[in-house]
Amino acid sequence: MILTFKLPRSRRGQTEMIGLVVIVILITLGMLFAAQFALKEKPQKKIFTRKGLSYSTMSTIMKTTVYEDNCKGDFKIKVNPQIGKDLLEDCAGNFDYAPTGYSLYECRNQHSCVFLEEFITGLLNDTLGSWNKHYEFTAVLIQASEDEPTKLFDPPITDSKSGGCQRKERDSSGLFPIHTSAGLVQAELFLCD
């Protein structure tokens, strides 16, 4: 009599245990599945393209030679200025006289800072802008380590749609430093989604 009462009870316990185990297995499977989604790697191409593209764009812009009217400034020899080596340096050196005062180069009859802003905007629009990439180009002049850096382009040069890469997932070209007589100029380009 005792046996007949004990057997069904233990069997019921076993069944409930199996049920619990099944539930635990199902929950574990679900969590594994969710983890697979959550830990999915970011697409490699996107990162590579953004990093590589920002660096290549920046290095190319810095090298670009400008062929515009009155670009030769006071020089008598026939040398067209480069953006990084000549114009950005001139902009930093004569930043206090911008936008209408003196600068060594006066491409399109403009102060070098004004011209650079217009010219770089045009170049970036024709390349990154036409591929619907969002960007932000900044250049600062550091005169002394304790000084607040002076922004050569304020606000920074951005695409017309996004208004920069603030508070967005972005990749940088890295800093492009140029030593000038006025101080250290650091230019950087950000690319974002």
Binding site: Q44, S56, T60, T64, L123, T127
Partner: protein, 186 residues
Amino acid sequence: MNKKRSTKRTKLLKFSKEKSAQIKMTETIAVLFIFFVLVLFGIIFYYQYQKVSLVEKQQELVAARAMDTTLKVLFLPELICTKGEAEPEDNCFDMMKLRNVNKTFKEYLTRYYFNLFSYSRIYVTEVYPGNSTFILYDKETPPRENGNRSWTHREPTFFVVALKDELKGTAVSEYGLGYVVVEVYS
């Protein structure tokens, strides 16, 4: 009288036992049904996920191929800026090479360049100072039997490059700005 009552009790007990067995059976069937419905949902969900992830994987592979091809193009000795034995300049194409490379590409397309670039289209567009376009390589996937094109997607990768022009006639190297586009057919 007692015997009759006992028979009735036995019958009742048997009936209730049968009924409880039936209820248990129905319960088991319901549990099994729900279980299989859940399993079916799982299978459908997994199938859909696999379908999407397969397409994603395919796109990823094409993107990786585009990436590889772009890197090959950027460091191609036939295009990259060089100066004697000095290090080649990265992200820079020599305009003099660029103007003439199409001939070489066409001549050695099947023998050499197809192994490098496979089915793809590569061109360089000058943005500043000029606006010319140089198509370097274009090999589409072979068309279908009915003559229609066999590719459905073209994955483009863009890179901005400096275009060095030694023909400008000045003592220092002058650079224009352009971009290279690598489109991979899939």
